[in-house]
Symmetry: C2
C-alpha cells in the first residue's frame, strides 16, 4: 500500500460521510491512525462496535490533539462551535478540512477561528445516499464521484494538495473551485432539488384525507422519486438551506419564474412551448449520460 497521506486523521461527526471516510481511510491506507469523535454517545458506541476507528473520543478538544488532519463531518450549522472548541488544540502545520455542502458559510464561520500555522482547506464530496448514521457508511462511497476542494484565497498550496490527495486515495475525482461559485453550482444541482422535493411532500401531505391516502397508494414514478430525495437527514438539510440562503433563493426564484411560464403555456394551450421545455429536459438527461453522471 502507498504511504499514508496523513499520520493521524481525526474525524468529528461519524454520520454517513464521516463513517465512510473512516472506512475509506483505513481501506486505502490513507491515514495511519483514525480517531473518531461525535457528540452522540450512541454513535460512538456504534463506531466502536463497527471497529472503523482506532480510537473514539467524546471530547473534540482532546480528539484533535496530535492530529495532522482534522476533518469536520458534522452538519454545517454546528461547525462554528466545534471549531471554537478545538482551535487552540490544533497542532501547528495541521490541516483542518470539512465536508459541508455550503462553503461561503463555513469559511465565514470557521475561518476566523483557525490559528496561524494551521491550514484550513474546505472540501465537499459530492456523494451520499438517502440513509444516515454510522451504519449507513461504506468505504467505496466516494469512488468515481467528484470531491470539490474549495480553499479561500491565499490558502497554502501544499495543504490543498494533501487534501486533494486524500480524496483521490478514496477513489474520488477532485476539482478545485472558488467558494462563491461552489455555492451557486450546488444550489442548482443539489439544494434546490432537495428544497423542491421536501416541499412537494408537504403539498401532498396537505391534501384532503382521501386524496392524500391515494397519493401514497398510487405514488407513480415522479412523486416516488421525489420522496427518495426527500428522505435525507433533516438537520443537515435545515443547515444547508439556512447557510446557502442567497444562492438558493436566487435559484428558486429563477425556477419559479420558469414554472409560472410553464403554467401560463398550459393554461393557454401553447403546445410548442411545452414541447420545447420537455425536449430540453431530455437533452440535458442525454448530456448527463454522455458525461457518465447519470
Amino acid at each position: 500500500m502507498p504511504d499514508p497521506v496523513f499520520q493521524r486523521l481525526t474525524l468529528i461527526g461519524l454520520g454517513l460521510i464521516g463513517s465512510s471516510v473512516a472506512r475509506a481511510a483505513r481501506d486505502s491506507g490513507a491515514a495511519a491512525e483514525i480517531i473518531a469523535c461525535d457528540a452522540s454517545a450512541e454513535v460512538l458506541a456504534r463506531v466502536t462496535d463497527l471497529g472503523i476507528a482506532d480510537r473514539v473520543e467524546d471530547d473534540p478538544a482532546r480528539a484533535v490533539l496530535g492530529a495532522d488532519c482534522v476533518m469536520l463531518c458534522a452538519p454545517v450549522g454546528a461547525l462554528a462551535e466545534i471549531a471554537a472548541t478545538i482551535a487552540l488544540n490544533l497542532a501547528p502545520g495541521a490541516v483542518l478540512t470539512d465536508v459541508g455542502s455550503t462553503k461561503l458559510s463555513v469559511i465565514r464561520d470557521v475561518g476566523p477561528l483557525v490559528p496561524a500555522g494551521v491550514h484550513f482547506v474546505p472540501g465537499h464530496p459530492l456523494a451520499g445516499t438517502e440513509f444516515s448514521g454510522p451504519d449507513a457508511g461504506f468505504s467505496t462511497l466516494f469512488e468515481g464521484r467528484w470531491t470539490l476542494v474549495v480553499p479561500p484565497a491565499g490558502t497554502n498550496a501544499q495543504a490543498v494538495d494533501k487534501v486533494a490527495a486524500l480524496w483521490r486515495r478514496f477513489g474520488a475525482m477532485v476539482e478545485v473551485m472558488e467558494p462563491a461559485h461552489h455555492d451557486r453550482v450546488l444550489a442548482m444541482v443539489s439544494h434546490l432539488p432537495h428544497l423542491i422535493a421536501f416541499t412537494i411532500c408537504g403539498t401532498a401531505d396537505d391534501l384532503e384525507d382521501e386524496s392524500r391516502r391515494e397519493v401514497l397508494q398510487f405514488a407513480a414514478s415522479g412523486f416516488r422519486d421525489f420522496t427518495r430525495i426527500a428522505a435525507s437527514d433533516p438537520t443537515m438539510w435545515r443547515d444547508i438551506f439556512l447557510n446557502n440562503r442567497e444562492a438558493l433563493l436566487e435559484m428558486l426564484a429563477r425556477f419559479t419564474e420558469d414554472a409560472q411560464a410553464m403554467a401560463r403555456a398550459i393554461r393557454w394551450g401553447d403546445a410548442a412551448y411545452i414541447e420545447d421545455k420537455v425536449m430540453r429536459g431530455r437533452k440535458i438527461r442525454r448530456s448527463l449520460i454522455d458525461l457518465n453522471q447519470a
Copy 2:
C-alpha cells in the same frame, strides 16, 4: 394456461406501454390473438421484427375489425382522431379501452364517438420507465403495479370486470376510480413532479455557460434524479399537461405557495419551520416504504 380474457385484442400505438401489453397478453395468454396498429411504419416494422403481435396493420379502421377488445395506447392528444377513424368499425359488444394518463379529457374526447353497444372503459396502468418505443417494452412492466380502471357513470359492469381481469392477468393490482378524482390524484403523484422536473432542467440550461457546464459535470443526486424523470416521451407529456390542465394548475399553485413559504422561512432564518417540512418529507417516504410503493 387459463382461458383468454379476449379473443382478439387490437392495440393502437405500440410504444413502451402498447408493446408491453402485447408481450404481457401473449405471455399470460390473456388474448388469443393480438393485432398491432401504429401510425409509424418504422414502429410497425420493429413490431414485426420483434414478433410481439400476430398481425400488424397500418390502418386503424381495418385493425379493429372483429376485435372484442380495442386498446388505445397512443398519446392522449391523438385519441379523438383515432376514435373517429375506428368508431364505425367497432364490433357490437366490443370493449374499447385506453391507457392514457388523463381521464376526463379521454372521456370528453372519445366518449361521444363510441357507438351504442360498444363498451368504453378507460384505464390507466401506473407503470412506465424513462424509455420509449416498442423496443423499450417488456412483459413484466405491470407486475405488482397498480392499474386504475376509470369508467364514466353508467358503464356496463361486465365490461369493467373484463378490463380489470385483463390487467390482473398481466400481474397488476386493479382499483376502480372516479374520473375527476383520478385526474386530481395523478396531477399530484405524476403530472406535477414531471412538470417540475422538465422545468428545473430548463432553469439549469439557462444558467450562464460556466455554471451550466458545471451543473452537468457535478450533477449530484437531486438534479440527476430530476433529469431521469425528465427523460420521458415529449409528445406524451405535452398531451398530458394540456389535457389535465385544471387539476395540474391547481396542484402547481398549491406547490408554489408552499415553495414560497419555504423561501420566506429560509430568508428569515426560521429553522423550526424548515426542519418541520424536512421531517414531513421523511415521514411520507417512510409511509411509501410501508406501503411497498417506494
